[in-house]
Symmetry: C2
Subunit: 596 residues, 2 copies
């Protein structure tokens, strides 16, 4: 199917928007009037630019407050429409959106509305233009798609059809089943937007909180299925008003947008997409660092041993149990030091996983490998983290460990058994994109987003994972676009005994995050923990949480660059991440930064 | 009356919050449990710190999910309460907040709730503590203040009273009149918060959008009047959950907060405050610049003449009609160049105006004047703009112009008659504070906030002014805390003929902001303007707006540093600022910046 996006959904000048839409793979655009008015290009120049970019101008919008008004006002409206139709002719746009009137002078008279829309369609026809009439959810007299269609049907004009908008229909709790009663050739246009389920004024909801399909709470795919059953053969077009997207870079937003339409097509069965290949474990986490020593000191104290070295690159493999950490000093490290740069995901079919990611617009990473390296499929997540699809220890598939030479130095401890989870900080403008990416590209389940109080703002965090818990990733985002208070990038290591593991770490010279005594007084008030258990937690800075599925005990190391480690003792069945303790941890991290 | 603020209303560590509250003049605080838990100070140390800062600990909060539960659960709750009462004894806090239960195990049984709260109060009494029971708007069974009071009354326990919270009462549309039926000594605490009128889920509304009294849509003062009639003699205490305040610097937020309580006390008649002195005109606008030449070139082209120079400082007075602009090269200019740094406001009583500002916590500026300078009263607005209270041409009062020596150079044109309005950009975290400041300190009226679409985010703008329009200030704020896309700091000059004024400016070598041709095609579609009028607008880049009160014609100069000028021809009665044209202006300003 053709795909399209309204220019209002992207930031920047009209030409920036068009370039971003084209690069992301859209075949068309809706030109939003204000974007045209505010730009220096003449309509003919915009037409040429779109043609050069392979973009069809699917719609010009909007016309407002046209119908069901007194004759003198309608005459002025027709005069205005003639100007717009002339402009559309220069632009090469053949469909115009007319929103149901919100004007105080509009009357509740369907016959008048139909007659005036017919007259408008007569004029439009002279210009080779079609009029798509849409019910705004807050229209004065016409606010449902059924009502708008009733008026269009009554008018019976070949140049007059209806435009359906998933937000306007689903925000009012409308039943999209009735769409099937409309004949497909009279649906002139289909606009799509999702939205989080917010109990708020529908106009504000629509203007500020729309999002791309799959990022909110509406069943957009269900609606599209009804539309397709009518025989509709126009484009799927995104029209998303969102305060965050208005600020974000247009390029990544357009990619996020187009990915959502690909997924929607997959969901309704009109796209042939490689199926998701759900990862089955964490093969490794890779730290990029300008200086391996501080990281090595922490890893050593945690009981890891440097067991192997890449045969062609300055990358060391540190291991303990099934937890593997690569320390890479290959020079691309950021000025602010050590970062979590890549994740190896165990995959039953690495090549198929990479094909799906590529089909869903994830940048495929060049295989910067030497002639003797194992071929590794890798893509970039929206936050830039490199995701490698691995098949560790599968004899029939290449093994990334074949590129490493065993060192025979040291022997790891046994306290840490595996990676419990990885925590990644997300770019502020692309938090919803990140969740959709991990769900759709990797086939992971996403949990609800939770708010966490940092002393300097409210963070949001959302976990994704597979069903058996062998892959867990926590995605966090700061309170503001430039928030530098987030200490959330970390590697959480699973242990069967956090007290022992933390004690060993400290005895080996590691520094644990200190937790205030007040926290333990509160723990004593909330849980009836044995004295000595509480004393050990207090001594080591171990945090505690419990729900019906069991307990979660965890503590944190000091931060190296932008990364720290967590030791986690998770009762079987507990699915949390210690969220109730996050604000205590964040406050302690702030307090234990060097004084300003 | 005593004033207090909940630590959750301010950002930072507990000690940062306490210091900010004390500096702003609060006499007390509510200690929010999480702030205590997450900090390194022991309760005794917090007690000492508060005493040192002159802060009384008015409340410890909250206790949750205590009452109307099965016996075993209540026993656990009492155990938890004992821990907290011990903590409060160490802290020196004598009142605890208990919120009505939201627990699924709570039952709808007022008698049980009363009995269990009595038992809790028994225990509290042993510690010299009072229990203040509050109805959360989303409480499971108890969600109104009347209901909470009914339970407290039924319990009849001397250590059990009620806590009233303006948000919980007014968000549900509750009638605060019934408060007068409660006896004052049983109102143990009063929490105050305002909120914008949003039709949204009350829990989300409460947690993210509360604001200080006077910044939202609730009649907080009306509620307080009812409370005072009961004989309540506890503190007025702010409890404001707000995503923006969580990120903002605690110091300015605390000042904003305390100002709101001073205004509230004035509104209910329990504070003796100097009355507002409404300004009656703009005496001058002062530009601070590292280099006077670019500004002088624009002012000269606009028809201003340099008519006088300060006798002791490098400040020039440029004048045309009643518009006076000071150009100050005294060296404090920012690196990014020319800025609008000060405003002279005509005042019927400058000294009284300054007294009110000082009483409302505006920093009084040192009078950096020489021995022969006229005394000028000045304060700083929240955005740092200096406000001078002037009495230009009043023989009985000092005249700031006496400090200037006439130059006799040049003669101004006559196209510009006065300053139409001034536009100031506000720090992102303090937009609501700015509006309240201008309303309360200066006695100006505030108009509704409007959204303006910049190509890189949604800006907000709000105008304040006096009734005859001789003082108009537009306050704008960017889309994000670090938004550098705002070009809104400007001086708008009134003219009776904008076509003539703009033409003269261009003929004199001035550069006008170019407006796209598409805008004029749209103007032709929307308004039936005479051909030659439209041609003149198109030629000069003049924007046009019209409503029932008349037309507004305006155009913009190039930007110098961070400042530009607007020429405005305003029909008598038109009260707008050309908001419908703002997105076109912003897009043009972005497009006409040097290429990146």
């Amino acid at each position: 199917m053709r795909t399209s996006i309204a220019t209002v959904s992207l930031s920047g000048s009209l030409t920036e928007k068009l370039a971003a839409a084209s690069r992301a793979g859209f075949g068309g655009v809706e030109i939003f009037e204000n974007d045209l008015l505010a730009g220096p290009l003449a309509p003919e120049e915009i037409r040429t630019r779109c043609a050069d970019l392979g973009l069809r101008i699917e719609l010009y919008q909007p016309m407002r407050d046209i119908e069901a008004v007194p004759a003198a006002e309608f005459a002025r409206n027709l005069r205005r429409a003639r100007h717009k139709f002339e402009l559309m002719r220069r632009l090469g746009a053949d469909t115009v959106l007319v929103c149901s009137s919100v004007s105080p002078s509009a009357v509740d008279d369907d016959a008048l509305a139909a007659a005036q829309l017919s007259e408008l369609a007569d004029l439009a026809q002279d210009f080779g233009i079609r009029v798509a009439y849409e019910a705004l959810a807050w229209g004065r007299h016409v606010s449902t798609y059924e009502h708008a269609w009733h008026i269009v049907e009554a008018a019976g004009h070949p140049a007059l059809g209806t435009c359906l908008d998933s937000f306007h229909i689903l925000s009012r709790g409308g039943d999209p089943k009735g769409i099937e009663d409309i004949s497909g050739e009279k649906i002139f246009f289909l606009q799509l937007a999702d939205a989080p389920q917010l109990a708020m004024d529908v106009l504000q909801w629509s203007r500020h909180y729309r999002c791309f399909p799959g990022q909110g709470g509406f069943d957009v795919a269900g609606l599209v299925r009804h539309v397709l059953r009518t025989g509709y053969d126009g484009p799927l077009s995104l029209e998303v008003f969102n305060d965050v997207f208005r600020q974000a870079e247009a390029g990544p937003t357009a990619v996020d947008a187009h990915r959502s339409l690909l997924l929607l097509q997959e969901a309704v069965g009109v796209a042939d997409m490689p199926a998701p290949v759900v990862p089955t474990g964490i093969a490794f986490a890779e730290l990029l660092t300008p200086d391996a020593e501080p990281v090595a000191a922490v890893l050593g104290a945690l009981g890891f041993a440097r067991t192997a070295r890449h045969h062609g690159k300055p990358v060391d493999l540190w291991q303990q149990g099934e937890a593997r950490i690569l320390v890479n000093t290959a020079g691309a490290a950021r000025r602010d030091g050590t970062q979590l740069a890549a994740i190896g995901l165990e995959s039953p079919d690495p090549a198929a996983a990479a094909r799906r990611a590529e089909a869903l617009l994830a940048p495929v990473l060049p295989r910067r490998r030497g002639p003797h390296d194992a071929p590794l499929d890798a893509v970039a997540a929206p936050d830039g983290t490199e995701l490698f699809f691995c098949a560790t220890g599968h004899p029939e598939l290449p093994d990334w460990r074949a590129d490493f030479d065993a060192l025979g130095t040291g022997r790891p401890e046994t306290g840490v058994t595996s990676v419990d989870h990885l925590a990644l900080t997300q770019p502020w403008h692309h938090f919803d994109e990140a969740a959709l990416f991990h769900r759709s590209v990797l086939g992971l389940d996403a949990r609800e987003s939770v708010d966490v109080a940092d002393p300097y703002g409210l963070l949001r965090s959302r976990a994704v994972g597979n069903t058996d818990g062998s892959v867990r990733i926590a995605l966090s985002v700061g309170a503001a676009p430039t928030d530098d208070t987030v200490h959330a990038q970390h590697i959480a290591l699973a242990t069967g005994d956090v007290v022992a593991a933390a004690g060993r770490f400290r005895a080996a010279g590691g520094r644990l995050l200190r937790i205030p005594a007040n926290y333990y007084d509160d723990l004593a008030a909330r849980f009836e923990l044995p004295e000595e258990e509480l004393a050990a937690y207090r001594d080591l800075g171990i945090l505690y949480d419990r729900d019906a599925d069991g307990a979660f005990r965890h503590c944190y190391t000091e931060t190296v660059g932008r990364v720290f480690f967590e030791l986690v003792q998770r009762d079987p069945g507990h699915r949390g991440y210690g969220a109730p303790n996050a604000s205590v941890r964040l406050a302690a991290q702030h307090a234990q930064r060097p004084a300003r």
